[in-house]
Subunit: 338 residues, 2 copies
Amino acid sequence: MADRKTAQPTMDDVAARAGVSQMTVSRVMSGKGYISEKVRDRVHAAALEIGYVQNRLARGLRSEETPLVAVVLPTLGNTVFTEVLSGITDALTAQSFRPVFGLTEYSEEREYELVRDLLSWRPSGILLAGLEHSAATRRAIASSRVRVAEIMDIDGAPISTAFGFSQISAGQVTAKHMLAKGHRKFVYVGSQGGSDLRAGKRLEGFRQTLREAGAALMSEVVSQQPSSMIEGRRMTAEILSRSDRPDAIYYSNDDLAAGGIMHCFAQGVSIPDDIAMAGFNGLPYLDALPIKLTTIKSPRYEIGRQAGQFLAMPAKKDGKTTPQLIDLGFELSVGQTC
Amino acid sequence: MADRKTAQPTMDDVAARAGVSQMTVSRVMSGKGYISEKVRDRVHAAALEIGYVQNRLARGLRSEETPLVAVVLPTLGNTVFTEVLSGITDALTAQSFRPVFGLTEYSEEREYELVRDLLSWRPSGILLAGLEHSAATRRAIASSRVRVAEIMDIDGAPISTAFGFSQISAGQVTAKHMLAKGHRKFVYVGSQGGSDLRAGKRLEGFRQTLREAGAALMSEVVSQQPSSMIEGRRMTAEILSRSDRPDAIYYSNDDLAAGGIMHCFAQGVSIPDDIAMAGFNGLPYLDALPIKLTTIKSPRYEIGRQAGQFLAMPAKKDGKTTPQLIDLGFELSVGQTC
DNA sequence: TTGAAAGCGCTAACAC
DNA sequence: GTGTTAGCGCTTTCAA
């Protein structure tokens, strides 16, 4: 066993070298059970000498528990999710858990495939974005009995525990603020062809508040492209070139809004006099822009961190926790654009 | 076996239901060996009915081969690495491989710990940033015989295969361009306290070219913070408030440079007349800024994609490939700032 | 405080 | 085409 040229050293090899049984090596490595210091040191020395690396596949197979968390996100092209992923990774790493992950590109079908595949690693937890998942996805997750966290959204029914804030309410708050500033003629600017369901909920809240105030959107401009500053700039230019100009634009996120700001700066359009703007996210780089954008600050990193922490909990047979929505809130950040 | 309440269904369960042997189920699932269509359909149906999910821990343990790739990156706070990670993920996903990953925050020690830990999953490949790694890291990787890809840098000796471009040359090209534009008084602006080794190499190339032209840096302003637009804006403001102003600033990356542009716009400083600028990366959002930044476009996504593809190759006992540097090049993008 | 035996769920190797 | 046997490297369980 020790001499297969092609194989990694195993506990048997360490045991042989240290003159103990394989089981003793296991105890030393996992730090469980009573071991004399003498033996412990001998084992550690032997392991180091032959370059032993534990095999987690074998460990996980036997103990039915892995320090692995499946992370399923829509995209990495949006700063929001990279910040969330940072939070997740930090929290998991602190508990010696690792994320294994995949991207859905906002497709429910891809999500299902990923979930199925990731489940085959018997992760102790799985993290999904949003509350909307196909029936097949829900079924696969339910029968696997992994711990589940859903993030970003709390407007709906979670599978188990959701960490986020109300997207609908974020839209409402923005609308209220813009109305209070005296704006009446609104245009909405979005991206991704509307496949971002959270953006859709914000728009829904925005529209609803407008309606209650007797106002309405003049139009919705939604690009098929992923969200980006340049797309925001392009759409803003298009809107401002119309004969019937709005007096305010609601962007589905900050990148698009920043593009709008850039257009106005380049063209000498005055904000908010000629056109008012509001975005969403509260990205750090906004502070560096020449004019401060009115936006909603969302606790992205914190959402990731808390969800990660939740998923990396020690496996204390947590019997059927009741579904829970954890509201991490958001904050209207009033800038100079509205 | 089939009735342990707490366990996932296994191939034995599927086999019992389909009235075949467990081995036949294995063959159907892995798509290897001859199976009659009748049996195949029965097995698939049975698997679906009881919600069977294969156990990759068991499979990997037995077959000594996992569709897992360890990805070790410095940070997700830099768009560069999120784009690289997108490329990696896309390439891996296309081959049904999954990334399992961790962040070093630019620490060699954290890198070592991560590498050790990730190796315990017996991944078929590992991906690292840069060419500089501790001796311990190199040793751990060598004795594990996983496939290795290093990314971003080719100025040095790779463990196996490196995908990137010459950072030193990027610095040189930038310096040459700025000199040609007639600038002589340079300041360098960096971040991260200099822990980004690739940025250091660019600076080295920049300095060297300056020296050959009889010029030199007036000073280097390096923030301890991570790179960001706001830090770039802050440092630029500081530099331009000095009595002895430079006529050009070389930023270690685009985020810092964009911050510089924002400062100048807000303060009415004229670019490039009052101050010239050059950055590095060629981030997409630059196109949306009111003035086009002179920078170096690096093939970040492509680097990730190619490295991912390399690591997800079918395991054809690739005997000791000689170390190789794959130069994916870069491109000077001349804008209006220099 | 240590060891021996059994077996987690799967696939390689061979039989039929 | 399909089944049988053995065993991957570890932890659980029980014994000493």
